[in-house]
Structures are given as structure tokens and as C-alpha cells.
């Protein structure tokens, strides 16, 4: 099992969700985060002066999938989240040692 952690643009969440559901992975956990990187920050104003915001709103989508499903998942996410400009986001893949479904106590791949 792997955990796929995708940092995406907030406005792309709906599309990413649809893409993942489309290929049969409805299970996911979503977090509001802020991020910075290559994308340049925002200029804002406050009481007559300008200042810079580096950390921009992003959304983190986490889903745990079997090893076999990693490819398809990545494909779906990239397809839905990309607009081709700095700030599109990253996907990280982590090893998972085990998963447990609280309701049943099942563990391993059948828990996800």
C-alpha cells in the first residue's frame, strides 16, 4: 500500500475528486493547507501599504491505495489538477505499513 499525497489548487478539488471517483477510488481525506514554492506570492494592501503573501491557499488530498493502483491514481490526479502554470502542485508517494478500518478492525488492503 502507498499513500498518495497531492497538493493541489483549491479550485481543482472538485475535478480531482470527480476523476478519482470516476476510476473507483472514492476514499480520500482532504485538508486545507497553505503552500509556497515556485509560484510567486501575492501582493496585498493593508491600510495604505503593500505587503507580500508567500503562503498561498492549497488543498492536500490524501489517499491510500494498493501498490497496483498507484499509477492509475497518479494519472487521474495529474489529469484533473494540471493547468500548466507554476503552482499546480506536487504529488508525493509514501510507503504505508498497514491500514485498519476502525468499524470492522480489518487490516491490510481490504481496509482501504
Amino acid at each position: 500500500m502507498k499513500k498518495i499525497e497531492a497538493i493541489i489548487r483549491p479550485e481543482k478539488l472538485e475535478k480531482v475528486k470527480d476523476a478519482l471517483e470516476g476510476i473507483g477510488y472514492p476514499g480520500m481525506t482532504v485538508t486545507d493547507v497553505k503552500g509556497q514554492g515556485k509560484q510567486k506570492g501575492l501582493t496585498q494592501q493593508w491600510r495604505g501599504r503593500e505587503y507580500k503573501i508567500d503562503l498561498l491557499p492549497k488543498i492536500k488530498v490524501e489517499l491510500v491505495v494498493t501498490d497496483d493502483d498507484v499509477r492509475a491514481t497518479l494519472h487521474a490526479i495529474i489529469g484533473a489538477a494540471k493547468i500548466g502554470e507554476a503552482g499546480d502542485g506536487k504529488i508525493f508517494i509514501f510507503p504505508v505499513e498497514n491500514a485498519i478500518r476502525v468499524r470492522t478492525g480489518d487490516s491490510g488492503e481490504c481496509a482501504i
Binding site: Q45, W46, R47, G48, R49, Y51
Partner: protein, 401 residues
């Protein structure tokens, strides 16, 4: 006693009361959430402390029989014997005149909280409010209570000097004595809920109808003129500062628009009853220009951490407004006539004198009082408490969950 005048001043009192939540929400909205409880508690404290102190002694100091032009005597201590009288020179009950004036005292102190926010301890603040309730009685007496400025012929319809120059001078003094907040000049220290700030702005604009309109102390043409001038100056201030912001920063800003409206309101307060709508537009427009550049000067150049720019939004427009009445008054009331309408330089001189003396007195008085409080209980919360926020440190409450 006239029932209609009484009704108008009663409702004006209610409108001025609304300026207290107005100030509270303007401030919490434009400050950080970790100090929202603290700021609301400051404004609420002003309301309940001033209501008692002004009742017991503040009113009689302001409006008791004049002692040497300086202060009132103890004639009305605890509102003794004020019960059913009509207030002299008006057609409203003395008790109503008291409540109306009480609200002015409360608003004046409330304005100062915009400067000292996010660092002063509640203990120190509590003493400050009591002290300031006494200090306020001096300018109030001088100008409105039959004191020496009144005798010189100083006019101040609803308090550009008594309220706003006072608040501005105190704000500047307090900002200097307290020192800067951590992060000043580095972080934006921006607001956490602009909608709350804008709510406050709307309430203040609305409340000002009572503030200026009620100062006629009668439901007459002067009151109507004051309301019209008030609305016009606020609009001009908001428009001008919006254009300035658009020009200098590339985008118009709601925060600055609200500040501009306040600046216009402050400035027209001295002349609301005396000027035409066009005079009011001019007063407000110029006030907004002053405010826009003053904010930059005081915060950026002088590095004074007047958190919500009370000096720039109330103090300086208060000064300008106090002088502007000597330019734009067109003789419609009490024969007050400004330079542009054929009046003389005399009035301008008196207005300037009033501003200078009130400014100096309050600046010095505030500085001394705060230094004294610093000695007794300290002024600021600890740096750690400032970081975690005054809400937790001073009240063990948090504004939001």
C-alpha cells in the same frame, strides 16, 4: 420641555450609543483575532465605567457652575437635583442632556483604544479609563460647559476638538509611551475579519447622524442641516480616499474607504450645523487627503505604532475640521461666519488656539497619567503574553473556536 426635541435627543443618544459597538467591531475586525476579546472588553469597560464615573462626578465637572473658566463645580454631583429640570438654554430634560453627554465621553475614550490595542494590560487600561474620564471633563468644560474657550467664542458643533482632537492627542501620546507592538514594521499586523470592521464603519457613520444631528439639542433645521452635512462629508471622504488608494496602490480598498469616511465625519463634526452641503463635501474631501498621507507619515516615517491610526483618522482631521468651520461656516446659525463667506480671521485664530491648547493639555496629561500607571501596575503585558494574545493572557477567553 418639548416632546419632539426630547424624542430627537433620546434617539440621538441611542445612535451615539451605537458608535460604541461601532468602534468595537471596527477595531476587532481590523486587528488580530487573538486580541478580539481584549478590545471588546476595553470598549465595554469604557461603557460601564464611564456610565458610572460621569454620573457621579464627570458631568458636574464638565457642566457644573464654572470655576474660573477651567472646570465645573460639584453642583450636579451624582446628578443631585437634576431630576425634573429642563436643561438651561434647551427644551430637553437635564437628565437627557446628561445621557447624551455621557455617550460623548464614552465615545471619546473608546476612540483611544484603537491606538493602544494589542499590548496594554487590562489592569492598566482600567485605571486609564477612570483617569481619562476625569481628564475629558476639562476640554468639555472649556468649550461646551461655559469655560474659557467658550467665552473666547470658540465654536465646536459636536466635537471635532472636544472629542476628536482629544482622542487623537491621547492616542499619539499613548502610542509613544506604550511603544510598538512586536512585529511592527515587519509583519502587516493586519485585521482578521474585514466584515466586522466594515460593520463597525457602517455603525459609526449611522451613529454620527445622532452625534452631529443630536448636538442641535432640538429637532429643527439645524439638526437636519447637521445630518445632511455629516452624510455629505463622509461620502466625500470615502470617495477621495478611494481614488487616492486606487492611484497609489493600484486597487481601491474597502478598509481605506471606511477610514476615509471616518476622516470626513470627524472633520465635519465641528461645523456640521454651520456649513452648506457643498462646504461639507469640501471639508470631508480635504480631511481624507490629510488622513491618507498622515497614515504613511506617522507609521512609516516616524515609526509610531498607533495601531489603527487614530491620530491620522481622528486627531488631524479633528484639527482640520476645527479650523474648517472658520472657513466654510456661512452664517446660517448663530451668525457663525467663515472666511469664505466674509467672516474675519478672528474666528480662525480662536479655533486654532483651542486646538493647540486641547492638544497640548491632553498630550501632556495622557503621558503623565500613563507614566504614573506604568509605575503602579505596569503598562504592557509580557512579551510572551503579547505573542499568545491578550485574550488568553488577560481574560482566559478566546474569541472563536
Amino acid at each position: 420641555m418639548d416632546a419632539a426635541d426630547t424624542t430627537w435627543v433620546l434617539i440621538s443618544t441611542a445612535l451615539v450609543f451605537l458608535m460604541l459597538p461601532g468602534v468595537a467591531f471596527l477595531e476587532i475586525g481590523f486587528l488580530r483575532s487573538k486580541n478580539a476579546i481584549s478590545v471588546m472588553m476595553q470598549v465595554f469597560t469604557i461603557l460601564f465605567v464611564t456610565s458610572i464615573v460621569f454620573l457621579l462626578v464627570g458631568f458636574t465637572l464638565s457642566f457644573g457652575n464654572d470655576i474660573g473658566g477651567i472646570i465645573g463645580d460639584m453642583n450636579f454631583i451624582g446628578l443631585r437635583d437634576i431630576g425634573s429640570q429642563v436643561w438651561e438654554g434647551t427644551t430637553i430634560p437635564a437628565a437627557l442632556f446628561f445621557i447624551f453627554q455621557l455617550m460623548f465621553a464614552a465615545v471619546t475614550i473608546a476612540l483611544v483604544t484603537g491606538s493602544i490595542a494589542e499590548r496594554m494590560s487590562y489592569k492598566a487600561f482600567f485605571l486609564f479609563v477612570i483617569g481619562f474620564s476625569f481628564m475629558y471633563a476639562f476640554p468639555a468644560h472649556w468649550v461646551w460647559g461655559g469655560g474659557w474657550l467658550h467665552d473666547l467664542g470658540k465654536v465646536d458643533f459636536a466635537g471635532s476638538t472636544v472629542v476628536h482632537v482629544t482622542a487623537g492627542a491621547a492616542a499619539l501620546a499613548a502610542a509613544l509611551v506604550l511603544g510598538r507592538r512586536q512585529g511592527f514594521g515587519v509583519d502587516a499586523l493586519g485585521g482578521h475579519s474585514i466584515p466586522f470592521g466594515v460593520l463597525g464603519g457602517f455603525l459609526l457613520w449611522l451613529g454620527w447622524f445622532g452625534f452631529n444631528g443630536g448636538s442641535a439639542l432640538a429637532a429643527d433645521g439645524v439638526a437636519v442641516n447637521a445630518v445632511l452635512a455629516t452624510n455629505s462629508a463622509a461620502a466625500a471622504g470615502a470617495l477621495v480616499i478611494t481614488l487616492l488608494t486606487w492611484f497609489h496602490l493600484g486597487r481601491p480598498s474597502i478598509v481605506m474607504a471606511v477610514n476615509g469616511s471616518l476622516s470626513g465625519l470627524v472633520a465635519v463634526t465641528a461645523g456640521a450645523g454651520y456649513v452648506s452641503p457643498i462646504g461639507a463635501l469640501a471639508t470631508g474631501a480635504i480631511a481624507a487627503v490629510i488622513t491618507f498621507y498622515a497614515i504613511r507619515l506617522i507609521k512609516d516615517r516616524f515609526q509610531v505604532d498607533d495601531a489603527l491610526d487614530v491620530t491620522s483618522i481622528h486627531g488631524l482631521p479633528g484639527v482640520w475640521g476645527s479650523l474648517a468651520v472658520a472657513l466654510f461656516a456661512d452664517g446660517r446659525v448663530d451668525g457663525v461666519t467663515g472666511l469664505l463667506h466674509g467672516g474675519g480671521w478672528q474666528q480662525l485664530g480662536v479655533q486654532a488656539l483651542g486646538v493647540i491648547v486641547v492638544c497640548g493639555f491632553i498630550f501632556a496629561g495622557t503621558t503623565i497619567m500613563l507614566k504614573w500607571i506604568e509605575g503602579v501596575v505596569g503598562l504592557r503585558v509580557s512579551p510572551r503574553d503579547e505573542i499568545s494574545g491578550l485574550d488568553l493572557a488577560d481574560h482566559r477567553e478566546t474569541a472563536y473556536i
